[in-house]
Assembly symmetry: C3
Homo-oligomer: 319 residues x 3
């Protein structure tokens, strides 16, 4: 029951996953995102494309950065924004998700931005909304985080001038990583790239989800020749059995991204992290702040990508 994301004329109605979009479509989204960027210190780009429209941020998981990014993206496109911290209100009264959606839809909300720890929630919502409503997945279980995937692609493209023929190494808590899933989908669409996954014991992914991708336990080998390194956050809040490993000060040395490990990659490697970071756990502070790091560029790209996606779904309604 995967959602049909495009309209019959090929414009974006929902964004639930990158899989199913084609290279030309993603390229246009990334181009539009770049068109929304301005140099740091100058006023951010603004557009009237969502003027009079309403965007509802339905965050069933706590989030500062993604919620803030979508909120500012919508406001800079002139939308009215409704923030709903759903834990705090409806759910204590026992209302079902679908009735919350029906209610907001009846208030003429145009776009739902949804984050939920449950798998399938965004697809469930898209299957139940009116034809004029769009749903954007802002993080779904360990399954999908498509705007993160797009911002990662944009960051790589800006630094490597290509999205083809690259070696991309992801290290860390891959088992819980929707970020890796979306990046993997995006890289496969955009070119012939080599994705390498490395994780500590207990945090390895189900490799059936990553056809054609190499898994390794040897972090040093996996970093050799990498064009891009993505270090992942240890998601303590999702790990039920807390292994002693995860709070061990040795973690960084054994599994984290240290300065000496960065040296194993290509000289012009870029270092990414989806944030929020546990400094000196999965990534050394010196790496996060070092010359290879493009972590704040990712954040800036995230806002631009979300503006591009919001604008795209609004355009799909006018066609």
């Amino acid at each position: 029951m995967a959602t049909r994301q495009l309209t019959e004329t090929g414009s974006l109605r929902h964004l639930i996953r990158l899989k199913g979009l084609d290279r030309a479509f993603i390229t246009r989204l990334l181009d539009q995102a770049e068109a929304y960027q301005t140099p740091m210190g100058e006023p951010p780009a603004r557009d009237q494309v969502l003027k009079g429209r309403t965007v509802a941020n339905l965050f069933f998981e706590p989030s500062t950065r993604t919620r803030a990014s979508f909120e500012l993206a919508a406001k800079r496109l002139s939308a009215d924004v409704l923030n709903l911290d759903v834990n705090m209100s409806s759910r204590i009264k026992g209302e079902s998700l679908i009735d919350t959606i029906y209610t907001l839809q009846a208030m003429q909300v145009d776009i739902f931005v949804v984050r939920d720890a449950g798998a399938g929630i965004p697809d469930f919502i898209t299957a139940n909304v009116h034809p004029h409503v769009s749903v954007l997945n802002a993080g779904e279980s360990n399954i999908s985080h498509p705007t993160q995937g797009l911002l990662d692609l944009l960051t790589i493209r800006q630094n490597k001038n290509t999205l083809d023929g690259l070696v991309v190494t992801v290290i860390g808590d891959i088992a819980h990583s929707r970020v890796t899933r979306s990046l993997s989908e995006g890289l496969a669409i955009m070119g012939r790239n080599e994705l390498r996954l490395v994780s500590p014991e207990g945090l390895e992914p189900d490799m059936d989800l990553y056809p054609g991708v190499r898994f390794s336990r040897d972090i040093d080998a996996a970093l050799k020749g990498a064009d891009v390194i993505m270090a992942l956050r240890i998601q303590r809040e999702r790990i039920k059995e807390q292994s002693s490993l995860l709070t061990n000060p040795e973690y960084l040395q054994r599994y984290g991204l240290t300065e000496s490990r960065v040296q194993l990659a290509k000289p012009d490697v870029i270092v990414m992290h989806p944030g929020p970071m546990n400094r000196d756990v999965e990534i050394a502070g010196a790496v996060a702040d070092g010359p290879h790091s493009v972590i704040t560029q990712q954040v800036n790209n995230g806002l631009a990508v979300r503006m591009a996606v919001l604008a795209a779904v609004m355009e799909s309604r006018q066609s």
Copy 2:
């Protein structure tokens, strides 16, 4: 110490209860609400009438739908909106309600939208604000919820083309229902309607509050010939002694609105619910989603009614 709701020239200064308003006045409010409605899928109506004005949502009880409805109503009228979750801040510092009101008034808040579990809070506030400040009751104990009453009247009028000569049956947790109180006041003002109340044991209303209204325990008899059915939410959070009844799966069969019970009413009966619903407790999911249901229309009307009320109190200041 009931609040004087109208100015000397007959325009709306505060909205605390429907009682005391007359038929012509409510008709004008409902007409204005309809003027603010647009077809689903089209952009919502917008107006500049609150431009530069400030609306403060003071919700001392958690609420998603009513708060969101007032917030969007105010934004679509171009107001600045301040959301205050008062539990989280002032109250922990021991500030009295009246000082919170004085403070916000000194920040030039124009309209307070107040929800509180305590009886008399809205009247207390209206007795203490400056002549240029308006107070809207967004839910007061089990006493009053006037914008809900207006949206219910509008929904009935749109479906029955009249607010006179109707049989309206309310079933469920009437003891805790400010919704029923406001509907009762509204129906009495608008015409000669027959209101019937039915509730399970332990949830019956104080009938002194409903002069001339019939109470019954026989749900099937009370539904016979109804033009309108309103099913009420079991307000678990307000019920101190949790009777086993309330979580019993038999509740729907014994006291809830099932498809077969709907058949007892008139063929063109409409089914309403103020939300949030406990599906398959007080109302069958199939009824909520069925052909008689006007529940999402209520939500849409709620936003329009709140725009009309906000616009009306702002106009009262200019006269």
Copy 3:
């Protein structure tokens, strides 16, 4: 490592403390604040000076009034406002403060409004932001609250027509009072004023922080001849050892500002309180609502002062 608050051309880049600003500069800020005031009942002043800019309210301590005041100030200057209740989200994921700042900065936030119980947090942030970002201190431990200081100066000036040669008596919980610190700095800059501090046992200040200021335990003597009285809130949430004193009904009589104590001051004395008040604890309700009270004027001035400060830091970027 005190922050450099002014740019090389003398305009305001950050506002962390009043100390270091000069009389002419503060006078201009107060004048600008007054220019933003309108009579009660008329629409508040509006300005386009922050149009397209983003203000982030980073409140690590709960606050209704200061957060609301900054939020409305920013909105009335046409800014986009992002409210971040940081306890609720980032911190549970273990992100460091500096990464939260880097993240928001990468989203092109222009101005951070920061409140934190920790000492040195605002200076730490100013030391780490880009040249185009400004930081406003909205309350720092028991150290500084500069916009409160400015609003208190403005309130005194409006009532006394001078900020020189005044006797100002502060009574109450001075140990925890950033309000007193900022007022002390402001009074010293603006003229030759006499500041007198009085507090109950256990709540006295470290007088090394108040050079040249007189501390007393004799509240009646300290009030004699006062032009201005500031009563402070007992900050129960900051007091670790709850002495029986603080909840004692005798507190008001022994240490609070009663009507008879107000009589000891000059006949035209003004009574101030930074709020939120514990009525009939540190201040009698009759004093708070009495003819000498300028407490709601303080609130109104607070909003105007914050507009002036926001406008000033934005101007500093254009020069």
